[in-house]
């Protein structure tokens, strides 16, 4: 899932400082699960920001809501009135939610309350780690189920670099070396031959390097004929 982290409140305060009415919108999806932008975080943030404005003797108005999924237009429209009434929308969602609001209401200023960090997994309560870069060309069947693109600092394809130290990554000795892990996994699976193969340069065009990606499923897409009234114009 998408892992995000709340921005420092000082930075958030600077973004909303020029505005009087601030609507804070969270999301019950990924960012709630990674404890960054669910209802609780929205509530505490609103409360902390109110205190800040109280402390500074100004009257800034904060109000908070949470949507089921901020990245979907239908959910966003549920709080349309709150968005329209605000001077600025502070999105406590991943950047996808923030952009969905911005795209739907282009005249509105939308500022991000979270830093969208990565595709990751919760390793344990309160710990998340990156495991995918969304390169668009998954190869983990050849690497023991471990992604070297995301889990190796250098996205190496042909084994660990010379900085693999006691199974840890030279960039952060707290983190395992992905290729060390791949080696161990393949050894366990008796598939070490996969380590011998020379992997030619990776096809990066399936990733963001190939330009912004859009996936279309014709069988799922509604035809113009199926789209009703006003929505057809969106």
């Amino acid at each position: 899932m998408i892992i995000a982290e709340r921005k420092p409140l000082g930075e958030i305060a600077m973004m909303v400082a020029p505005h009087e009415k601030v609507t804070v919108i969270g999301c019950r999806s990924c960012v709630a699960i990674c404890l960054a932008g669910g209802e609780k975080e929205v509530d505490t943030l609103v409360s902390a920001m109110k205190l800040k404005s109280m402390n500074e003797g100004r009257t800034q108005y904060f109000d908070g809501f949470v949507l089921e999924r901020q990245c979907e237009k239908e959910w966003v429209k549920e709080v349309e009135d709150k968005i329209l009434a605000a001077d600025v929308v502070l999105s406590m969602s991943c950047s996808l939610g923030a952009q969905t609001i911005g795209d739907l209401y282009p005249e509105k200023i939308v500022v991000p309350g979270l830093n969208t960090a990565m595709f990751g997994v919760p390793e344990e309560q309160g710990v998340w780690s990156e495991k995918c870069l969304g390169c668009g060309d998954c190869i983990i069947h050849t690497t023991g189920g471990i992604c070297p693109i995301a889990r190796c600092a250098k996205s190496m394809l042909n084994g660990p670099c010379g900085g693999s130290s006691n199974g840890h990554c030279e960039v952060n000795l707290e983190i395992e070396c992905a290729w060390y892990a791949i080696y161990e996994r393949l050894k366990l699976q008796d598939r070490l031959d996969l380590m011998d193969t020379v992997r030619p340069p990776k096809e990066w065009s399936t990733s963001h390097s190939g330009g912004r990606r859009v996936i279309v499923r014709e069988d799922a897409k509604l035809t113009p004929h199926q789209i009703r009234g006003k929505e057809a114009s969106l």
């Binding site: 409140l9 609780k40 505490t44 409360s47 902390a48 205190l51 800040k52 402390n55 500074e56």
Partner: protein, 139 residues
């Protein structure tokens, strides 16, 4: 100097926390009356929002009082309470409000002396800092 007495809210657990308060009272200990206790079953019930909202409602300082961590009635509740308080303190720092306005304390039911210490500690903080925003325009 503030023109009113300090206002302090204490979220206090119904187990060791409140027992230590009770024992203090019954041992004849006196403490400043600015302390307003709100009972919670366990400090793990306390949510950062409770602390912040209490400040919003006019508290100058807020504290949480629970069982000793090694002797918590609900095993790990005091540990959870401590983490919530720490998170709120970091948020307050980020918005330029003195984090010492929020504190976590632990006591066991037999510590008759503890609560008056906690109270005087918090009253000192509240008196020194005054109400939030009282010094006009923050920092």
């Amino acid at each position: 100097m503030p023109d009113r007495e300090p206002k302090i809210v204490g979220f206090c657990c119904e187990k060791h926390g409140i027992d230590s308060v009770d024992l203090a009272a019954r041992s004849g200990r006196q403490y400043d009356s600015s302390i307003r206790l709100v009972r919670v079953p366990c400090t793990g019930r306390v949510d950062g929002t409770h602390l912040l909202k209490a400040l919003e409602e006019g508290a100058d300082a807020v504290f949480v009082l629970g069982c000793l961590e090694k002797n918590c009635y609900y095993d790990t509740g005091s540990i959870e309470g401590r983490k919530r308080v720490a998170y709120v303190k970091s948020m307050l720092s980020e918005v330029g409000i003195e984090p010492e306005r929020v504190e976590m304390f632990n006591a066991s039911s037999s510590m008759s002396w503890k609560f008056s210490e906690i109270a005087s500690n918090m009253v000192k903080v509240a008196a020194r800092l005054g109400p939030i925003g009282s010094r006009g325009g923050g920092r």
